[in-house]
């Protein structure tokens, strides 16, 4: 009796600890929490009002100019400036996509971040605030729009439906026409289009048009080649994507990292489309699709490599030829596009979401019911709100629907995806998740893990 009471008390204590860990202020999350305090532009204003902070920031910017990270840390003055800034509002600040002064916000972010990290990592943390509601506008609106399509004939080509939906909206039609005519305009006999202007028009389109329209064009679910070719053509790849030569991917990456926007969007892609098991590290499909779309019109513009509908492969226009001793790193970089289960599932989930009738016919069956203590909710305290919807439904829908339409799809591959989801979720423990998580949230998660471990020991001792 007493033992049971003690056990209950300890468990309750554990809950409190976990809740506390989940609610802890963003500062302790190292800027990786989903509640970010102030954006960097605002933080910079706050810093400018403080003499100590503003002079330190000036010093750091001078330190960063033309020097590498180690010499920066070797300089006492630079190190001191960095320490002062870590205590200021600038530390942990983020930016929002399409915010006013986005570029200057990002520049402020990177000047501090590069001082801290040196900018030599394979994956960089996203300077953008995380998107907290996964099933937002695009997913919901897309379903509404597609619900109005009744013609059975048009059902065979969802990409054509997407074009129709865009054409029927004045804004979407105007901006689509704007990028298409820009990208399709012949400049001279030698230059068949103005790539720079084309990409700019594309960025404008994806920035301005609601994702309910743009996602439908980009991620329409195809069951035949005509559809898949239309999907591939969405960004006018002849002008915006392909080039006569294929550069090395690492060269392309370093070009991208030299440019604030591209660097930020790439870091955002790496953060949101990182594969964890068969899902996304942040358990947020919308965030992954957003980050992917954010790369279009930049140096690393990704696209479908061909008109394959059963096994669509996405890649930037680059290869790993001529990588020398960096071959492995190059392949790793490229595979985050070409063999990315998170991105692939996000696209598939979007496709299924647009087809309301389909998902109704096959009600989502939870693959596994996990006891709450070891479920994802406790493993990822900060994303409880984010993931509850996507987590339990979309993944399993994707799974069952793929098995249903297995006749057309590469069956062995798809099924292995489904079964790996089943077997791996059983083994999911907070500690294991910690290993794969990005650095910042790792701190917090390992703390939760430690608490659980300590409690576990205590319970053992009590027995």
């Amino acid at each position: 009796m007493a033992r049971a009471g003690l056990l209950g008390l300890l468990l309750a204590l554990g809950r409190v600890f976990q809740a506390w860990a989940g609610l802890s202020p963003p500062a302790t999350l190292d800027g990786h929490g989903w509640q970010s305090p102030v954006d960097c532009a605002r933080a910079n204003e706050l810093c400018a009002a403080e003499p100590g902070c503003s002079s330190s920031f000036r010093t750091l910017r001078q330190c960063l100019a033309g020097r590498d990270h180690n010499t920066l840390l070797g300089n006492k003055e630079c190190r001191l400036a960095l320490e002062v800034l870590q205590g200021s509002a600038l530390h942990g600040c983020r930016c929002r996509r399409r915010m006013k002064k986005e570029l200057s916000c990002l520049q402020i972010y990177w000047s501090l971040h590069l001082g801290l990290a040196g900018g030599a990592e394979f994956y960089e943390a996203s300077p953008y605030e995380p998107i907290s509601s996964p099933l937002s506008d695009a997913f919901r609106l897309a379903s509404i729009v597609s619900g109005t399509d009744s013609a059975a004939a048009s059902r065979s080509n969802p990409c054509l439906d997407a074009a129709k939906a865009c054409n029927l909206s004045n804004d979407c039609k105007k901006l689509r026409s704007n990028y298409i005519s820009t990208c399709n305009k012949e400049v001279s006999a030698t230059e068949h289009c103005n790539r720079r202007k084309c990409r700019k028009a594309l960025r404008h389109f994806f920035d301005r048009v609601p994702s309910a329209y743009s996602y439908r064009l980009l991620f329409c679910p195809c069951k035949n080649q005509a559809c898949a070719e239309r999907r591939r053509q969405t960004i006018v790849p002849d002008c915006s994507y392909q080039e006569r030569e294929k550069p090395n991917c690492l060269t392309l990456r370093s070009h991208c990292r030299a440019e604030t926007f591209c660097r930020s969007r790439l870091a955002d892609f790496h953060t949101n489309c990182q594969t964890f098991l068969t899902s996304c590290s942040r358990d947020n499909y919308q965030a992954c699709l957003d980050s992917y779309t954010g790369l279009i019109g930049l140096d690393l513009t990704p696209n479908y490599v061909d008109a394959s509908f059963s096994n669509p492969v996405i890649s930037p226009w680059c290869s790993c030829q001529g990588s020398g001793n960096m071959e492995e790193e190059c392949e790793k970089f490229l595979k985050d596009f070409t063999e990315n289960a998170c991105l692939r599932n996000a696209i598939q989930a979007f496709g299924n979401g647009t087809d309301l009738t389909f998902s109704r016919k096959a009600p989502p069956q939870p693959l596994l019911t996990l006891p709450p203590a070891i479920g994802r909710a406790s493993a990822l305290p900060y994303s409880v709100n984010d993931s509850s919807l996507v987590d339990n439904t979309s993944v399993s829908i994707t799974c069952t629907s793929r098995q249903e339409s297995g006749a057309q799809v590469n069956q062995s591959k798809e099924q292995s995806l489904c079964s790996s989801e089943k077997s791996l979720t059983t083994a999911l423990m907070p500690e294991q998740k910690t290993l794969v998580e990005t650095k910042g949230s790792g701190n917090q998660l390992s703390f939760t893990g430690t608490v659980s471990a300590v409690l576990f020991l205590l319970v053992k001792m009590a027995m």
């Binding site: 074009a163 054409n167 029927l168 105007k174 026409s177 298409i180 070719e229 239309r230 053509q233």
Partner: protein, 107 residues
């Protein structure tokens, strides 16, 4: 029912719209993409000016015989919609302008 039809025919000049495919526009392009085709339709009775009355009268007096004249205002687009771009069945992009009306008036 006849009254209804008669009434419909006497609606004043205004902008109407219809969903049609690019192929149906008859411009020689082959594409299944659907666009919104806006056109001008309706009567211009209230827009009759002294010019129209006079022209009709002068013509009836057979003072104008050989020329083709129009003694009635016409419901026509005053301005046109933005360009329309589309992908045709051969997977080529095209952009066409002044396909669809934006504003109608009696001229």
């Amino acid at each position: 029912n006849r009254m209804k039809r008669a009434k419909a025919r006497h609606k004043p000049c205004s902008l109407k719209e219809l969903e049609v495919t690019i192929s149906e526009l008859g411009l020689g392009y082959n594409s299944d993409e659907t666009v919104l085709f806006r056109y001008c339709s309706g009567t211009c009775d209230s827009a009759v000016r002294n010019y129209d009355i006079s022209l009709k009268h002068v013509r009836s007096m057979r003072k104008i015989r050989k020329e083709k004249v129009r003694a009635r205002p016409c419901c026509r687009p005053l301005s046109y919609d933005d360009d329309v771009s589309f992908l045709d069945t051969g997977n080529r992009y095209y952009t066409v302008n002044e396909v669809s009306a934006k504003e109608c008036g009696c001229v």
